[in-house]
Symmetry: D2
Subunit: 281 residues, 4 copies
């Protein structure tokens, strides 16, 4: 923000696209850029479980078209009795996988007290759906200056989502990527309802990149590719896809994780759609 | 239904795909087939308004890639004080447009007492969103034997939708096309929330063709093409798009109708996506 | 409507309360009045099943504080393979129950072609949730002049609901009672979510009486009384409660039907609440 | 938890009522008990604004039937440009109001880092709707041992809500009161949809007290009393009501705050309903 720029306020928030304002590019490590012609494919497991799992999965992501690795070290679980993640150990394993594959890593941070710890390892900080209005956390990731992947809440309107992004931007950090991941509706045939229209609306209303997580939207591996193709066709700048070297052994989200083979198929299908809309993948 | 076939029942409904059952093709007039490789593009105005409007619009549909004409003669309007459609006169105008352009026509029937009248002209009967559980009407269109375009209700689950289709099928009429048109959710940035995931779910669970109406989902011409591309990418067998020769003069749904130029753009974009997923348009 | 009254239109609909306009009283037979100080309790089975069932149930309704009998003769069922009601025979049984108990009867009409038949027997016509935007049907019940119980649809806004009432009112029939019965939301711990706030909103916005169906909202007999008490406390003018002489034998909605004993308890509890808010029951 | 008690787990969570388990009483300071026969009325402003405001409002709460004071010191606001609360100064003002009126105070804590600070002053910690799945925060308030008012999130199912309570209980703190405050649905005539049925469901499924916030559900002062009466009729153990000595001057939530006179009316009405259901207020 230039010194002479007017102060942002409710009527002139930083997240909204001003007339003629170009897309903001969000750069992660040296290799990834969100908001450019290339659709960014992020793959990886729901949770980091052990070294073998994360290394093996990271290799298949790298080998099959992915350009970033995802994996949860701190897991926000509905029940306190469910697996809560490997925490600091998970960060070490992500760093090991990055070292071997060269893939930058994105991982979730849940607690404002952990932002420095997670930010010391992760290339990009993920704010999960349940934290979309965790304002102290948003301020901390804003202050951290790290690129942020801001997932929409299950019942967050587009307006509220942009206001949450504003909490990060107004701390001087404009490296924010918005991630649609399905909303909660009356329909239960899938885990959530992918709001593909939000992608189109956001591409007009904000200059920030918009990606889609088809895995949490579908909640079922059989439908992930169809949602991913739809997202790219609608203009998404990237995809966040759960894949696991052995989905049947996954400690969480087993049903929605793709096998390496399925991940490659998704990648091939989405590349064809990306090219049909004038982009690459 | 062959004489020796088992009777359908709650556990074995006709609408569900049996293991190995191929897609049902729904044929309209001699020229259109839903459920085949070619994605069917239906275009036309919300309501039939006058001869000039319907002829001019039908010509642009035919010239820009559309293969069927839509247009409402009976309009279900939330308020009794809104334009209710030209009724029988609207049917005559649709017939005139068909005669000139060769496009088969689909139009809505609201009242079981009108099924014979509408069916005498229309090539395909549309059941609108508000009629999804109008069971007497469903039975009548089932008995009519005409191809049916069955729009999902704003609050209809996939299961309920298939049960409504069953009311038509169990009268011996399997020429039913399902049309996703957006559901009602908490999100109001668009008129409805397009449930693109329902397309993927339905293509697995039923043998019936599935099409998408991006116009009612978006409610805003700026987002219609993005939703149409997403629908085709997800596997839709067709599109139902509102277009009007002069949208600013439209008596209803002006804000979501495409100009002829925009309609052609949509057609071109969707053709590219269709080819990317191994189909044509 | 006096000859000199201005014509109603979108801006001045008949359903909205004009400044100072008193509550409209809806009278059914000679004995029931909706919108007065007395809260009207309507009881009866989901469906009319046979003479013994309807007579026995009607007697318990009359003996335990009910002043009207409900019971479905035509049943709108999600699946075509479910019990669809006894139809004309059901009307005869309702008439027999009325004759014995003196209770006026309300029953649903689904099809505009049946309005005359149902209206010849029923004291009040019910428009079910699935018919809230069945405009041909609304017009017919408007023309019939009979009192109408207009149930809200599962995903009908208050505005749309009042517009549907307007279809009846603008045919010259102002004997319309609105019935809240729960809306569809993401929450599934009960069958529907009772929108008790809609009662309060409607009592301000319209002059028409508002009643509540706690049985369909709850979908579970254990919670019906709590919802009924809440409805009366919020200002409802009546209650529509499913009760069955032997719920375990009911052909539909068995789980939400009250036994005669539970019906009496509900009545006693709601009477106490009614008196606490300055009314009777 | 007795030393010999079985360890709680997913199948046997602490929040669920075991057969025959009595209601848990939650005691705040020496004067307030949630879960007993007396319905607890909590009143106060949305935000603590200054000494005059909080003293004057606290006096009217005490004089008109309230037994606890609410008031926000840290305010979770959708936009970063809105008033964020007086923070520590707000706590001092709440303490001053408590000293003068004797009312125990409940106030929201947003950040796990602030739990000790807020807990040093507040008699009860409020977890706001947006924090319902802020698991690090839930653990901290669990460890604090302070009574907790756990508001339901806008999109939280009853099951998820109880799982969030479990995060507090499993830290050894069973002094948790659940607060229904309206959920997000398609209906927009009120700010949220009060799910009064959840009160009834929770009273059966959990031993924890359940209160209702009719102010945030309604979002409009005209409907707050109707919702409060409904809540008490359905079995709520308490009410959380926004009131302000001069609502027109309120810095936030002006439209839903009651005047002192309206607050007294609500209290009188709810007392009558409480007595009708065998309780007091």
């Amino acid at each position: 923000m230039a010194a002479s720029a007017p102060q942002p306020d409710r009527k002139n928030p930083l997240a909204l696209r001003q007339p003629g304002q170009p897309d903001t590019l969000v750069k992660v490590a040296d290799s990834v850029e969100f908001g450019a012609a290339k659709v960014v494919l992020i793959g990886g497991p729901c949770a980091v479980e052990n070294l073998t799992q994360i290394l093996e999965t990271a290799r298949t992501v790298a080998a099959n078209g992915g350009s970033m690795l995802r994996g949860g070290a701190w897991k926000p679980r509905t029940s306190p009795y469910d697996f809560q993640g490997l925490k600091e150990e998970g960060l070490d394993l992500l760093a090991a996988a990055r070292k071997e594959t060269g893939l930058p890593v994105v991982t979730e941070v849940l607690d404002p007290r952990d932002v420095a710890t997670v930010g010391a390892v992760a290339d990009m900080l993920q704010i999960g759906s349940r934290s979309i209005q965790n304002f102290p956390l948003l301020k901390e990731v804003g202050l951290s200056g790290k690129p942020v992947l801001l997932k929409r809440g299950m019942m967050t309107t587009v307006d509220e989502w942009l206001s949450s992004a504003e909490y990060i931007l107004c701390e001087g950090n404009n490296q924010v990527v918005l991630c649609e991941r399905g909303i909660r509706t009356f329909e239960t045939s899938l885990r959530n309802t992918l709001d593909v229209g939000a992608v189109a609306v956001l591409k007009e209303r904000t200059h920030l990149p918009v990606v889609v997580d088809p895995s949490h939207a579908a909640g079922d591996f059989r439908y992930v590719s169809a949602l991913a193709r739809a997202a790219v066709a609608a203009g998404a700048d990237g995809l966040l896809v759960e894949t696991h070297c052995r989905p049947d052994d996954a400690l969480s989200d087993a049903g929605q994780s793709l096998t390496p083979h399925q991940f490659r198929e998704l990648c091939d299908q989405c590349r064809a759609v990306a090219e049909a809309v004038g982009r690459s993948l």
